[in-house]
């Protein structure tokens, strides 16, 4: 009689073998993150992705689920990243409508910003003696996370580290950006927005939208163009430099 498992662990074993547990965990952690983000009046520090990642990490360590097993279930969410990347064409296309002949100026500043992002990150990290395994993850950190992870795979960097660094960069940019722009006396909304989109991608764009619509539109354009340019150029830069 005692050699049958109690039903509760039967259920447990069954659930952790199916994708359901990982999916429920991921989606509910994200909903919790969104709720907290709304409650905090959309404070960039209460980033819903960051909250969700912390909650899921705690969740899988409490139930002692290996990451590989978690990912096997959560891969259905992960798969849509590629589709989301393709969808970025839609806001970029709509952004083109408001350019008013500024394309050349925007592309030049994008190149300057993109090069600065890679050079300062890799240069500073090496100077401070950061583990070489982490340095590669920093290369694409100013590119929007779905594209950054694609770049990471091409340059033998960890997509996970790249995603974490990209989200952190977005949060830092959204929090610090305005002080930098104020100190430099950059007042035009389109310039402020574009700089924020280039440096802090989606999270910076969301911040820009909450301040000014024109800034937001230019921020999403900056994010999109940085994504395309980064995907085309960063792998070559890494092949040449590393």
């Amino acid at each position: 009689m005692n050699n049958t498992l109690p039903p509760i662990s039967d259920i447990w074993v069954y659930l952790s073998g199916s994708p359901l547990l990982a999916l429920v965990l991921t989606l509910s952690a994200y909903l919790l993150g969104l709720t907290l983000y709304e409650r905090s009046q959309r404070n960039p520090l209460a980033n819903p992705v960051l909250i969700a990642v912390v909650v899921v990490c705690m969740g899988i360590s409490v139930i002692d689920m290996p990451y590989a097993q978690y990912f096997e279930g959560a891969q259905f969410v992960h798969f849509l990243l590629g589709t989301a990347t393709v969808s970025l064409a839609i806001p970029i296309y709509k952004g083109f409508a408001s350019l008013k002949g500024r394309m050349g100026v925007l592309l030049l500043s994008l190149m300057a910003g993109g090069i600065t992002s890679v050079l300062t990150a890799v240069g500073m990290a090496r100077w401070l003696g950061v583990d070489e395994a982490l340095v590669r993850g920093l290369v694409a950190k100013s590119v929007t996370a779905p594209i950054a992870m694609g770049i990471a795979e091409r340059v033998q960097a960890s997509p996970t580290l790249t995603a974490i660094f990209a989200v952190s960069t977005g949060i830092l940019g959204a929090v610090l950006g305005r002080y930098v722009l104020d100190a430099l006396r950059v007042t035009a909304w389109w310039q402020r927005g574009f700089a924020l989109g280039v440096a802090a991608h989606g999270i910076g764009t969301s911040r820009a939208f909450s301040v000014n619509a024109e800034a937001g539109a230019y921020a999403s354009l900056g994010m999109g163009l940085h994504g395309i340019a980064g995907a085309m150029l960063i792998p070559y830069a890494v092949a040449w430099w590393f």
Binding site: L81, G82, A84, A89, V180, V186, P235
Partner: protein
């Protein structure tokens, strides 16, 4: 009931949720697709461009990720067409509205890197802060200088 001129993924996040509803209404024109059919059609279109991008990446341009090539192809397609098909806009905006959700599974992999991250915590933080400040500053300054040269106030 047209979409606002410049909606973007995060405009939608900002509570401009009505854009989806207005799309729904535009879709209710006589002999147009139902909401669910439009969803499926939009998804098929996006998958198609994703697949084209993956093929191009696999056989012609292996250095560039497939989805990014799909993005570029879709951008060219939209430029040729002159507008975003409503069904594609519907699905694309819905996905982008919750873009953050999609990189949770990969980010949770951070559990595998906790020791090495902890050992480098301060250096990494300093690097991220300095790099983002420098990127904002350089982008904005170049933009400001070039814009001034283009059109003196």
């Amino acid at each position: 009931m047209r979409m606002p001129k410049m909606p973007s993924l995060l405009a939608v996040l900002q509570g401009a949720n009505c854009s989806l509803r207005s799309q729904l209404l535009t879709l209710r024109k006589p002999n147009s697709l139902s909401y669910t059919e439009a969803m499926i059609q939009g998804l098929v279109q996006l998958f198609l461009f994703q697949a084209l991008g993956e093929l191009l990446s696999k056989f012609a341009l292996p250095f560039i990720p497939g989805p990014v090539l799909g993005l570029v192809l879709l951008l060219a397609f939209l430029a040729l067409r002159g507008h975003v098909p409503a069904s594609m806009d519907l699905v694309g905006s819905s996905i982008l509205q919750h873009l953050g959700l999609l990189f949770i599974p990969a980010s949770v992999g951070v559990v595998l890197y906790l020791p090495v991250l902890q050992a480098n915590a301060w250096a990494i933080t300093a690097t991220l802060v300095l790099s983002v400040v420098a990127t904002v500053a350089v982008t904005a300054l170049v933009l400001k200088l070039l814009a001034q040269k283009d059109s003196p106030p």
